[in-house]
């Protein structure tokens, strides 16, 4: 490693970006590409549009087969001509399938799916960056994208072709196909995942026989993600597809779907990388609740159970989700969860992280939530009151203090009688606490004074026991045996030599014990 100047270091440590740049990028060998004994070249075939209609079918098949030849894009110098031929051919195929009718005859299906499988189904290489942080780092893009993109495009047009027959296609687009497709969702390349999302969505729509299987597999992927690996790049895309599926659920909801909500979607909230897919996840949850409002209570209780305790960013997300849920909640359902929910909100409001507090306080800017609170003010106000009052005095952030004023004012206007009652009982509580504190302070003061006043008397005590116990060695022996102390204590009390000390002794000896 060459010397790194001081400016490139932070706190004496080399910046991460410098370290990365220094790492030599090894060319990734892939078992996908057979080492050719002889260089393989593609010979360009005539254009489809130029071919007579009788030969088009055959030419189409030839081109499809030609495109089954794979090229190594990590090597940027070899096979350039052939790569270009393949790219142009793929482009042509995409056009052909999109614009022409009568292209999808039965014998074409296996050729098409074979070409697709050959090109896209591959084992994804391990991530170049083992600490890949999806939010910060640039993703590793697929090197062969110039071809693969076209293959995806082709697959999509194939599925969306008006002549497409699921009854024929299902022989080739089967469970194995779907499984391999799902595995590709782990690609780091967002463009690839975007295609996959649309493709799987179409497949789910058209192949009724595969629907249950797809749902099951997605389940498994999520469960593995939550409980085992915490790694999967395609969660957001899968959730987006699920959103459109949930939206289409028939009522009453099947038990399977409800189980999915409680066993998969809710625990998904515990993932560390929640920020990447929270919007989609929240959408799915809200869709469920719009379909079946009776699910509100278990959902909210589930969220409260998994409420983030140390990650403020997640807490803000959870609060956003709660607001979305409250936007669609039915008043009868609200009553069931209002108490545990507002207990949590009351904690959020006092959170020293200003974003969490702000987000929680902002609930009071939501008209519908206000109307719900108003209906149930007698239950909610007592829960919120103490924390709101406390942070109005104690929070460090002035914006928060101003928001608290708004909230208190709003609550006050809802029910001033209750508010006044709570104010006076809160004040009374504070008075009591203050009084207790004062008494405690005075007790300590007294004890301190005790110690000081007997300091000279303790000089001859060699055992160094705490002075509270040694307050009676004013004349004699240094063995501060406990029994001796008691006897001396008695002696002093009887003596009446030093009235102050005596009084102190008789008071504090019980304490010493």
């Amino acid at each position: 490693m060459s010397a790194i100047s001081a400016s490139e270091k932070v706190d004496g440590f080399t910046r991460k970006s410098m370290r990365k740049a220094q790492k030599q990028r090894k060319s990734q060998g892939s078992s996908q590409y057979r080492t050719h004994t002889a260089p393989v070249e593609l010979s360009p075939l005539p254009q489809l549009k130029d071919a007579p209609s009788t030969e088009q079918q055959e030419l189409f098949t030839q081109k499809l087969q030609q495109c089954c030849m794979l090229f190594d894009f990590l090597d940027s110098v070899t096979d350039l001509k052939s790569k270009e031929i393949k790219r142009a051919t793929l482009n042509e195929l995409v056009d052909y399938v999109s614009t022409n009718r009568g292209v999808l005859v039965e014998p074409a299906y296996p050729e098409i799916t074979n070409m697709i499988c050959t090109n896209i189904f591959r084992i994804l290489p391990p991530s170049e960056n083992p600490d890949f942080d999806p939010e910060e780092d640039e993703p590793t893009l697929e090197a062969a994208w110039p071809h693969i993109q076209l293959v995806y495009e082709f697959l999509l047009r194939f599925l969306e072709n008006p002549d497409f027959q699921p009854s024929i296609a299902k022989r080739y687009i089967d469970q194995k196909f779907v499984l391999q497709l799902l595995e590709l969702f782990d690609s780091e390349d967002p463009r690839e995942r975007d295609f996959l999302k649309t493709i799987l969505h179409r497949i789910y729509g058209k192949f009724l026989g595969l629907r249950a299987f797809i749902r099951k597999q997605i389940n498994n992927i999520f469960l593995r993600f939550i409980y085992e690996t915490e790694h999967f790049n395609g969660v957001a895309e899968l959730l987006e597809i699920l959103g459109s599926i949930i939206n289409g659920f028939a009522l009453p909801l099947k038990a399977e779907h409800k189980q999915f909500l409680m066993k998969v979607l809710i625990p998904l909230h515990t993932a560390k990388g929640l920020a990447l897919f929270h919007a989609q996840l929240a959408y799915c949850v809200v869709q469920f609740l719009e379909k079946d409002p009776t699910l509100t209570e278990p959902v909210i209780r589930g969220l409260l159970k998994f409420w983030p305790k140390t990650c403020s960013q997640k807490e803000v997300m959870f609060l956003g989700e709660i607001e979305e849920i409250l936007d669609v909640i039915e008043p009868t359902q609200f009553k069931k969860i209002q108490e545990p929910l507002f207990k949590q909100i009351s904690k959020c409001v006092t959170n020293p992280h200003f974003q969490v507090a702000e987000r929680a306080l902002y609930f009071w800017n939501n008209e519908y939530i206000l109307s719900l609170i108003e209906e149930n003010i007698d239950k909610i106000l007592p829960i919120m009151f103490g924390s709101l009052y406390r942070i109005s005095k104690e929070h460090w952030n002035p914006t928060i203090v101003a928001l608290v004023y708004n909230v208190l004012k709003t609550l006050m206007e809802m029910n001033c009688t209750l508010f006044d009652e709570l104010t006076s009982s809160y004040k009374a509580d504070r008075q009591r606490e203050k009084k207790k504190e004062q008494e405690r302070e005075e007790l300590w003061k007294k004890l301190e004074e005790l110690k000081l006043s007997d300091m000279p008397l303790v000089q001859n005590n060699s055992h160094g026991l705490p002075s509270v116990q040694n307050n009676n060695n004013n004349n004699n022996n240094s063995n501060s045996n406990h029994e001796d102390q008691e006897r001396s204590a008695a002696a002093v009390t009887a003596d009446d030599k030093d009235p102050d000390a005596t009084a102190a002794v008789s008071e504090s000896t019980p304490c010493a014990k």
Binding site: Q175, K176, G209, A255, V316, P398, V401, L403, N406
Partner: protein, 334 residues
């Protein structure tokens, strides 16, 4: 304080109270002004007084401060023609003046904080100037004798005279009721001694103490309060308090409040309302071919049992027993 002293103090305060009454003609002018006029209306003033109460409560000021502030405000409004746009500056300066009189210096909220929380648009120097103006106009009579003064005295007298140990009058409750009354401008027309007595009486009637009723009458005679007056104001008080105690909530006047949040929070607020791009896929009817094909395409190594359980997902356990065993996960990677 013994009874005699208390009564004497009552008399003294009663004599003083006239000096601190707002001009009745001024108050009537306000009451008759329609809202939306170029002058202050009763509704305007009442809303402002409610704001004052919110601020008092928020900053932990005492009821004394609030009552005094309202007194200063009413006296000022009754003597000057005020434009509504100046009302918040005036009310805030009255509050600040009252706080300076009543509260400990260490508990005084600085004026910039007052303005910020009150969401007002004027500056600290504006406030200082307004304070000067108000002080001058009121002839520097800041320490007013108010209904609260009387309420405290009455309360002390009632308690000291009452032989029945069991019944107590809650001073806090009385204060809260006074506060509710003061939020309506009509009560500013009452003499503080009468208003306080009316409040005392209705509370005594609520706790049904004959003893205290006697004491109340005694006070009335002592201060020479006319029966008619007392009856009139008792009626008004009763009306006001029944509104105050009603469980009906008033819809908060939402548009008045500003909700300022930090930039980061504002950014994340509406990021969720994105419309999904994928069109909805309606769920087919369950008996349909939804289950038909799942049995056909079998995969090797133990896939059969998986597929067959997918058909009738509506019944049956979602997590088939063989899957619950830990070592059955190889099936996915056939």
């Amino acid at each position: 304080m013994d009874a005699f002293k208390l009564m004497k103090e009552l008399r003294v305060n009663c004599e003083q109270e006239v000096h601190y009454l707002p001009k009745v003609t001024g108050l009537r002018a306000i009451e008759s002004t329609a809202p939306g006029d170029s002058r202050i209306s009763a509704k305007c003033r009442d809303a402002k007084v409610e704001d004052l109460w919110s601020l008092t409560s928020f900053f932990g000021y005492s009821t004394q401060t609030f009552v005094l502030a309202v007194n200063l405000l009413d006296r000022f409004l009754a003597m000057m023609k005020i434009q509504p746009k100046h009302l918040s500056c005036i009310s805030l300066s009255c509050l600040h003046m009252a706080a300076k009189v009543t509260e400990k210096e260490c508990n005084l909220t600085p004026t910039d904080e007052l303005i910020r929380i009150g969401q007002c648009r004027f500056t600290v120097s504006d406030l200082a100037r307004m304070e000067k103006i108000v002080t001058e106009k009121l002839n520097f009579k800041s320490k007013a004798v108010t209904a609260l003064t009387f309420l405290h005295l009455y309360h002390q007298i009632a308690l000291s005279h009452c032989t029945d140990r069991k019944t107590t009058l809650s001073l806090e409750k009385l204060e809260a009721q006074l506060k509710a009354c003061l939020c309506r401008i009509s009560f500013s027309k009452a003499k503080p001694s009468v208003l306080a007595l009316a409040l005392l009486r209705q509370e005594i009637e609520a706790v049904q103490s004959e003893d205290m009723l006697e004491i109340a009458s005694h006070i009335q005679r002592h201060l020479k309060i006319v029966d008619a007056d007392l009856v009139l104001w008792s009626k008004c008080v009763a009306q006001c308090l029944s509104d105050y105690a009603s469980p009906e909530c008033s819809k908060p006047d939402h548009r008045k409040l500003q909700w300022i949040v930090s930039r980061r929070t504002a950014q994340s607020l509406h990021s969720y309302r994105s419309v999904p791009e994928l069109p909805t896929i309606p769920e087919g009817c369950w008996d349909e071919s939804e289950s038909e094909d799942s049995c056909e395409d079998m995969m090797s190594s133990g896939e059969e049992s998986l597929s067959s359980s997918l058909g009738s997902d509506a019944e049956g356990s979602f997590f088939p027993p063989h899957l619950r065993r830990q070592n059955q996960r190889q099936y996915l990677y056939a």
